[in-house]
């Protein structure tokens, strides 16, 4: 369920001793991102409900002189809220979490660079390297791909399989998915670039998702395959624009040229549909 965010009344929060303006009820992590205060995070995405799985975004909340750890992606801004992002306590636990990530996703450059930025360059834990891992030993199970697929796209093609340390993400029974639109939303949200996707001729291959193949439609002008067929149909059904026809038939490049031509035609006495 994606909750509608109604901006709350303006308030002031204190981060690392400095005051910032925020809206009441706003996610603290998004305030920090806006204000360019660095808090590491892997599983947060503004368009999805708070999830709280990666635990990297933990901060200390100061309340009545006492400090308590909380994930900033689930913490809501309230007037007078005071948090600290780099206390010795946070640094200590965050470092161990980075060590765990380095062991879990040893092939991920993103994780390696992120950990290094926080001073963690090696792990004391046994690295997990699995031959033939469809996610290239880069997945940190942040769940963003699963949630984007079901909550944003409504496809539900991928999910978690097993539990505990055996958890992985893939299609049910590792079978090519019939629900996958091939939209690539998962690829775009993945923080560790773990998901592999490739366009091969008239098909898009979701290499990480059990070799799922999705047919593409060709551009009527240049003949290049440019968009998943199923997806275009379902997206178009929801679209209401005079450009509908161009979108359905032409790839973005040809669409641009086509529109420009119509524009010129219109100026010189021809007719243009999309006035």
């Amino acid at each position: 369920m994606i909750q509608q965010e109604i901006p709350g009344k303006p308030i002031t929060v204190t981060i690392n001793g400095k005051e910032y303006r925020a809206n009441e009820g706003e996610i603290l992590l998004s305030v920090a991102i806006r204000e360019k205060i660095e808090i590491p995070h892997l599983c947060y995405e503004a368009s999805l409900d708070p999830y709280g799985a990666c635990r990297l975004c933990m901060v200390e909340v100061v309340r009545k002189g006492k400090r308590e750890m909380a994930t900033s992606c689930t913490l809501r801004a309230a007037d007078g809220l005071e948090v600290l992002t780099d206390t010795p306590e946070i640094v200590k636990h965050r470092s161990i979490l980075f060590e765990l990530y380095l062991a879990e996703a040893p092939k991920s450059d993103v994780i390696r660079d992120m950990a290094a930025r926080y001073g963690v360059t090696r792990t004391r834990f046994l690295k997990r390297i699995e031959q033939g891992d469809p996610l290239g030993n880069k997945c940190v199970l942040c769940g963003l791909c699963v949630r984007a697929c079901s909550e944003i796209m409504g496809a539900g093609a991928i999910n978690f399989i097993n539990r505990g340390p055996y958890t992985v993400v893939n299609t049910p029974y590792y079978a090519p998915s019939r629900d996958c639109f091939g939209c690539g939303a998962c690829v775009r949200v993945c923080p560790t670039n773990a998901i592999e996707m490739e366009d091969a001729g008239a098909e898009r291959v979701m290499k990480s998702w059990s070799g799922t193949r999705v047919p593409l439609s060709p551009c009527e002008c240049c003949g290049r395959y440019y968009a998943p067929r199923e997806l275009s149909a379902s997206v178009l059904a929801r679209l209401d624009t005079p450009l509908k026809e161009e979108i359905a038939r032409l790839c973005p490049e040809c669409r641009g040229k086509h529109i420009a031509r119509e524009e010129i035609l219109a100026k010189h006495g021809g007719s243009a549909k999309h006035a």
Partner: protein, 563 residues
Amino acid sequence: MRIVSAADMEKVSRSGLRKIRPEKPRIAVGLATCGIAVGGMRVYDRIKEIIGEENPDIELARVGCIGYCREEPLVNITIPGKPLVILHRVTPGDAEEIVRAVEKGEVPVEKALCRIPLWDHITGCTQEYGAGFDGIPRYEDVPFFSHQKKVILRNSGLINPEQIDEYIAIGGYAAALKALSGMAPEAIIDEVEKSGLRGRGGAGFPTGLKWRIARNAEGDRKFVICNADEGDPGAYMNRNEMESDPHMVLEGMLIGAYAIGVSEGLIYIRAEYPLAIRRLQTAIGQAREYGLLGKDIFGTGFSFDIGIATGAGAFVCGESTALVASIEGRTGRPHPRPPRLTDPGGGLFGYPTDLNNVESWCNIPVIISKGSEWYAGIGAKGNSGTKVFSLVGKVDRVGLVEVPLGTSLNTIVFTIGNGGAGNKKVKAVQTGGPSGGCIPARLFDTPVDYESLNRIGSIMGSGGIVVMDEDTDMVDIARYFINFAASESCGKCVPCREGLKHTLLILNKILAKKATKKDLEILSDLTETIVATSLCGLGQTAPNPVLTTLAYFRDEYDALVNP
């Protein structure tokens, strides 16, 4: 027939009483899962074979379990005018002798565990069975029972859990009648609040307060749920409560639903408890027949019904948010709170929901019946009432033990449990299941209450007490519990999913004598981080067995590691 008045109740009660204490002798076999497992059913069948289907002289009945696991199978004999006698360790071979004795108005004395001349069912009548059989020890002189106080288990093993009349005969549903027809919902919540009852599912949250929050929550539809997931290894209190006295759970939920203002209830129970599920279903069916569930209960206009949802028995599904996800048909993975279940949007299908443990619900009828003052008089300050513990492991007297909160571990393990099995020295206990801590014997004067257990690194949990003796290897125990927690982790958050895996790998390395002092440091750093950063209670408490064994049994670790 529908019960709408005290007079109706009285009528049913009389019929029930005739079943509990018929005019002829009654032989009742303890048939909860535990009794069945050690041959109770065979004893029952053999007795039935001997006396025949319909015996005009002897009544044969099934009852629940009184909780003395070591002495099972247990058989109760009631001969009119004589004390109730409990026979123990009964085999099918004893059946003949039992029947012959009963026919003569006697009992086989050498098989007798104890006699009960008088039993206080607390919510209703005091059963005066009668005098005689002086050669058999009295119930209160049996060391296993003498320090117990049976409030929750007051009917367990004495009534037939599949006969609603018997429950009503000993005062059942009288509290519900009193509450629904004579008390305002707020007054009930006040009463529960004043009783000091705290949640028996582990966290000890004040039950009355939770009800008040749920009552005041915005929502045109709300739910009450009974948490019967009971996933701790070695814990089976809830199972016995449901198998031996299921109507007590239903009555508690009925009163709670009325107080909160809810018409829909659910019991979330693990599929591994088939007998409990069946008895609950039977009980729900009977309660509906009498109009104690359904529309217009007691003619008050209040309607409430209960459904059963079975879970696949994942430990994490006992956690409130995972439990709700599981009922909704989603994967049982916790989500961050708030929103809490009682918040709008946070509960079942998004509706405000009150979740309580089986035993929390069981406490309600007696609180309403006897009043909060009576209840608050039991136990310790801030920790009122009794708690049922399953005392298992390397202890002499294994069984279900009900004592007032604040009773010391010494009393439970030594006075009631008689110390180590086979005269071994007791070394430690683990309270609170896999999320609890190992408490060394030198701290056994600790009173068992929520705060005292926390102070020494353990938790109350749902009430499992596992005893370890001098032969137990504490590092191995820590590994056992970590292995359990790691494989039950839902896999959502990294400290629990990855952290527990590496904790297990390090413990394996230590036990294989391949670890160094450095590994112990990593172990203690890692477990501290798991506690501090995990999303839900599973991860936050899972390292307790390691942390406490490191604190109290450091020498055992040191002996295994290389410098």
